[in-house]
């Protein structure tokens, strides 16, 4: 007889953990995919993979970056496998609720729009860093880049957003 699962990997605690983290995971996937329906598919696949691999998660505190990593890989895999069309930056409409947009902070809305329009190579590490809490070394490892390349991408991502925030762009880096 198989021993009963214990700790995080038990079915019920693990399910609760996934339920709790699902909104953050979906938000992360939305920013990566710029398309909610694709993001929901990514999250669905992520949760299934996480469920199958739940024995690997030893520390519940590490669940968030663990899930985000799975989601990022799943997102990349989805694009490789399905050859999904890339999103035309001029037609990005992910933030499309006009009622909420007018209710909220217009500057924040503009900033969201600018993040949406960042090229994937800038947006992905930025979202991993700010929303996912990954260090530059972790991002480099995950994206298969040097840490210097990650620093450059993050610098350029923020530099593009500075003007939206009313700041002068900094001199570009080599």
């Amino acid at each position: 007889m198989k021993p009963a699962p214990r700790g995080t990997t038990g079915a019920a605690p693990f399910t609760r953990l996934l339920e709790m983290l699902r909104p953050d995971l979906l938000r992360f996937a939305c920013w990566l995919a710029r398309d909610r329906s694709v993001a929901e598919d990514v999250v669905q696949e992520t949760l299934i993979r996480a469920w199958r691999s739940r024995e690997e998660l030893k520390d519940p505190a590490a669940a968030r970056p663990w899930l985000f990593t799975i989601a990022r890989r799943e997102h990349a895999r989805l694009y490789e496998r399905k050859r999904l069309p890339t999103v035309d930056v001029d037609s990005v409409e992910a933030l499309g609720d006009p009622a909420l947009a007018s209710e909220g902070d217009a500057a924040l809305h503009d900033l969201r729009g600018a993040i949406m329009q960042l090229p994937d190579e800038y947006r992905e590490p930025l979202v991993m860093q700010v929303l996912g809490g990954f260090s530059t070394a972790e991002i480099a490892g995950e994206l298969g880049l040097t840490q210097a390349a990650v620093l450059t991408r993050l610098f350029r991502a923020r530099n593009r957003l500075r003007t939206i925030y009313g700041l002068e762009p900094a001199e570009d880096v080599e």
Partner: protein
């Protein structure tokens, strides 16, 4: 930017303002220009975080779901058997909408004075909802939500103040917990509709959830 040190510092500041190497921190102590750049970037980052932590409801909902790629039937079955049936239910945007609503009525949490039965009844009547709270109600407002007036209450409980939204026009299939905008909460089927219970601290206990739902039934 003038010196190689400044260029090096700004690369790190612009890339990772919260992860600066020691030499950049030292440089900042003696370079006012880079310090200003750092302060600006930290300020930008706070806005950036707010922007990225967008309520899920702001991401356009997909059309009625047609799966873009099928799951292997064996995996689905395994998940169902393992008690993971919840995975197959598309998460309602309802939780995000409720949390977004509550975040805009931040003052409601600080109310202390217990409202009279007449005050509460007036709000319930305005929303066309019946509810019998067993706990003191310190805030009651009929709020526009999804095109209806819904009672938005704050009740004092042994677990601290809880926001209760009586969503009698919302159908949900099952209880689901959520965590949005710093709130922990739960959506509960109640009567013909739903009740949302939100806390700023720990999620409401199951006994408290039952007690709140009992007011509907």
């Amino acid at each position: 930017m003038s010196t190689p040190d400044c260029r090096h510092a700004r690369l790190h500041i612009g890339a990772a303002p919260h992860e600066l190497p020691a030499e950049v921190t030292s440089h900042l102590a003696g370079c006012a220009e880079c310090r200003r750049f750092h302060d600006e970037t930290v300020s930008l980052d706070a806005r950036l975080r707010s922007a990225l932590e967008v309520p899920l409801s702001r991401f356009r909902q997909p059309p009625p779901r047609t799966r873009r790629f099928a799951l292997a039937a064996s995996v689905v079955l395994a998940l169902l058997v393992a008690g993971g049936a919840w995975l197959l239910n598309p998460r309602p945007a309802l939780a995000g909408d409720v949390a977004s609503h509550v975040i805009h009525e931040a003052g409601s949490w600080d109310k202390q004075q217990v409202l009279s039965g007449a005050d509460i009844d007036a709000v319930l009547h305005q929303a066309g909802v019946k509810y019998d709270s067993s706990m003191p109600v310190v805030y009651a407002m009929a709020c526009p939500f999804h095109g209806r007036q819904v009672p938005h209450l704050v009740v004092q409980t042994a677990e601290g103040p809880m926001t209760v939204m009586l969503l009698m026009h919302e159908k949900i299939a099952a209880r689901s917990e959520f965590s949005e905008h710093g709130f922990r909460g739960v959506l509960l089927p109640a009567g013909d509709g739903a009740v949302a219970v939100l806390s700023r601290g720990a999620a409401p206990s199951e006994s408290l959830q039952r007690e709140i739902v009992a007011g509907v039934n």
